[in-house]
Amino acid sequence: MATESAGTLGREELIEAYRVMRTIRAFEERVHAEFGSGELPGAVHLYAGQEAVAAGVCGALVEGDYIASTHRGHGHAIAKGCDIGAMMRELYGKAGGSCNGKGGSMHIADFERGMLGANGVAAGGAPLACGSALTAKILGKRHVSVAFVGDGAANQGSFAESLNLATVWQLPVVFVVEDNGYAQATGTRYHLRGLDVARRAEAFGMPAAIVDGTDYLAVRAAADAAVERARSGGGPSFIECKAGRFFGHMEGFDQQGYRGEGEVDRLRAEDCLVRFTAAAGLSTEDVNGVDVTVEAAVEVAVAEAKAAPAPEAAELLTDVYVSY
């Protein structure tokens, strides 16, 4: 497993990394509470537990780079710099949401920030990321694209095809498989027969790393290497990150009866935020400072989202085409 001492990152970068992860956590915990109180509509898949993956990978990216996300996309969006106010309004289906309320949690996007969208179709983001990578290549820009894919979605044919296309076209793309142990209630022991997806990526002809997805520094190191390879014309790479989710598959739906005794407790004991705080040598003050700001921002986001108006009725028929 690749790793890296916190030393190569400056203090500001470390605090920023913490801020990103803490924002994701606060956002997700609050969304969980809101959903529980019956306030939130829709299919909401929470990312809590996997923060170090989104933060570590997106930490390696710069402006102009792209990510294509999954149905479990809040963490990726936040890590790529999307506004949590707009995101929260989107979750509530309100005007001023990231997608003006028309997308919802499963389609949050922000093209200005290079976030090409969550996706309701398993592995839907992988071909899209090949496409944005092609744009960079054809236009001679040095932008890198990242595709996030779940362990279950990694079985989808379009993912295998994307690995192949990326190697044949030598695209500047990084595939990040997040193995959180389950596709809904089906374990990787069953659906992957316990095998690593990384072996497939290698068989398709690209370098592949496997990292502990609760270790921000390890993820970041692997991402730095893969992104640098892509940016310098070295073609696609693959990173498999192992990190469990704290909540059920989907809010309001999943009783989690399929999980082993004490499994979630164990996951919470390996909390990526706690690990990172220690590894990065952040002080209680550092942490508290961020926490307070983040909590307040989430509070504002929720309040504003609740207060925001629904989209205009006419919106039902707009945005189908640019012109028709």
């Binding site: 398993a122 979605a153 079985n155 809904q184």
Partner: protein
């Protein structure tokens, strides 16, 4: 009907049909992703839900969880059907037909024809459809119009628990590939007294769910309830609407629709799907071709708009037809307003 008072949800009616067909025929096999069987990690934990809940306990060898490999497992259903099984594959949301469409369009639908009738494909593909669950554009489509277009497929869309059970049983026993549409909002929202015994409702037979002689309303799936509500309201205005539930979209029982239109001379078609090349325009066009002289007014279609399904509840609720829109459409077919609306 042995226990006339037993009320089942649409979901439980489907479950009962699956259980009875599995029990009756050892060649029936059920598979799909994740919680279809509830294998979870080690085959014992699990989380089977929906219409397949509990089946893996009764039929452990014939309920299989699949990885997220729709092309492979829907294609496997075709291969299994052609060699002796009666597979019932679960697609979850019909929107996911996108990732296995070749298996439906080019394999399941065409195999029998391409081999000159020397094989059959007795499989069922179960799918959830429809708006109303705040699932957004990729989890709320109707899409049955696509399948109705494709020769070789049968397309079934029950509107209530009794039909759901009988049509699913008939679909499983049928020797052709059937795409079976289950409206999400009906799973829990539709309840009825359902016979306990095993029974079938023949594919391709529409049902006149309410008689009337002023106007014919053909409504699909969940829209049957909206059409009935509209008919109720119209009754108060002295308009007697006949409501026809086609139940099967392919083959389509045009005869029942023709008979109704011959009686009423007016036709309104209610279809939750997008309008272009929909079942709605198909029925409208076919009636205009074959019963033109019976019509005394323009046919009317009431459909979703030519737009994806939005997430925002406020917008989504405006997407499908409802009783109000149906009442308006019916009114526009009535003598006083025929001319003004035909613009």
């Amino acid at each position: 009907m042995t226990q006339p008072q037993r009320v089942l949800s649409y979901l439980d009616a489907l479950n009962e049909a699956l259980a009875q067909e599995l029990a009756a025929d050892p060649s029936v096999v059920v598979f799909g992703e994740d919680a279809v069987g509830g294998h979870g990690c080690d085959g014992t934990m699990g989380h089977a839900w929906g219409p397949t809940r509990g089946l893996h306990n009764q039929f452990p060898d014939r309920i299989l969880d699949a990885p997220i490999t729709e092309s492979a497992f829907v294609g496997a259903a075709v291969g299994a059907a052609a060699t002796g099984l009666r597979p019932v594959a679960d697609l979850l949301f019909v929107d996911f037909a996108g990732v296995c469409f070749d298996q439906i369009l080019n394999q399941a639908a065409k195999l029998r024809y391409m081999v000159g009738g020397k094989a059959a494909v007795p499989m069922v593909l179960r799918c959830m459809w429809g708006t109303g669950m705040r699932r957004g554009a990729q989890h709320s489509q109707a899409l049955y119009s696509l399948f109705t277009h494709i020769p070789g497929l049968k397309v079934v869309a029950p509107s209530n628990p009794v039909d759901a059970k009988g049509l699913l049983a008939a679909s499983i026993q049928d020797d052709d590939p059937v795409i079976f549409f289950e409206h999400k909002l009906l799973y829990f929202g539709s309840r009825a007294v359902v016979p306990e015994e095993r029974y079938t409702i023949p594919l391709g037979q529409a049902k006149v769910v309410r008689e009337g002689d002023d106007v014919t309303i053909v409504a699909i799936g969940r829209m049957v309830n909206e059409a009935l509500a509209a008919a109720e309201r119209l009754e108060a205005e002295g308009v007697r609407a006949e409501v026809v539930d086609p139940r099967t979209l392919s083959p389509f029982d045009f005869d029942t629709v023709y008979a109704s239109v011959e009686k009423t001379s007016r036709l309104v078609v209610v279809d939750e799907s997008n309008p272009r090349c929909s079942v709605a325009t198909d029925i409208a066009g076919t009636v205009a071709e074959n019963r033109f002289s019976s019509l005394s007014a323009a046919v009317r279609t009431v459909t979703g708009p030519h737009a994806p399904v939005p997430f925002s509840p406020a917008l989504e609720d405006a997407f499908p037809p409802n009783a109000d829109k149906i009442v308006d459409a019916v009114r526009s077919t009535l003598p006083s307003s025929v001319t003004s609306k035909a613009s």
